[in-house]
Amino acid sequence: MLLIHCPYCEQDLPELEFAYAGEAHIARPADPSKLTDEEWRDFLFIRTNPKGVHFERWRHVNGCARFFNAVRETVGDKFLATYRADEPRPDISSLTGDAK
């Protein structure tokens, strides 16, 4: 069970309060009808699934109920950072340098 820093509650809280919600930074297109079938397929189904640094969404569903974003290193299963849904992607190099 991980400890997750909720960027809204500003506390490290047990994973049991949270729910994973897929890859982050995949915005729903403003006008889906303008997308080709291939573009729409990619939006629906194509995900990066990296070995290493992954940008993902979590929801503090049993807490403040907010969706937020996280940077997690998938090999060691460690959170490098969490940030609010409306914040930009953090710079990876600043996180992976000597992350504990």
Binding site: M1, Y8, C9, L13, L16, N62, G63, C64, A65, R66
Partner: protein
């Protein structure tokens, strides 16, 4: 052999107060706490735009707010238990993964107890209020009863 003793904690169901779930986009200038977990008057801040209002003052608070907002009465949605006694932290530790010893008196939080979502308010060092959706309440209560027997057994 340890004899069965007083569990050191009591669980009491409280009569339901008026409860309102309030959602406000911008609480600036309103009588609402803005730090999650903080309580001011009848309002407990559960999320950045969400408050649980409890008691007779709830309706007045809502009436005084400028729009837009959402106020939905949920008085009957949940059951509140008063948990009180020196063993109250042990009781909650049977199902709540949070470090409640570090929760300040006068604060609250939405969290989980076993598989049920609950709202906890710490009223005193050894006194909490636990609010849980109505249909989950018997499960939580049954677990409390088991845990109280366990604590009383002294092992």
């Amino acid at each position: 052999m340890t004899a069965t003793t007083d569990p050191g904690v009591t669980v009491t169901e409280l009569p339901p107060p008026t409860r309102i779930t309030l959602r406000v986009a911008d609480p600036t200038g309103q009588p609402l706490p803005t730090r999650i977990g903080a309580i001011e008057g009848c309002a407990l801040c559960l999320g950045p735009d969400e408050w649980l209002l409890e008691g007779d003052a709830a309706a007045d608070l809502v009436a005084g707010l400028p729009g837009p907002y959402s106020a939905v009465e949920v008085s009957d949605r949940e059951i509140t238990y008063l948990l009180e006694g020196p063993a109250v932290l042990d009781l909650l530790a049977t199902g709540c993964p949070r470090d409640l010893a570090s929760m300040p008196v006068g604060a609250g939080a939405r969290t989980v107890y076993d598989t049920a979502q609950v709202v906890l308010v710490r009223e005193a060092n050894d006194r909490f209020r636990l609010t849980v959706w109505r249909s989950f309440a018997p499960h939580v209560r049954a677990l409390f009863d088991i845990a109280m027997r366990e604590i009383a057994a002294g092992l």
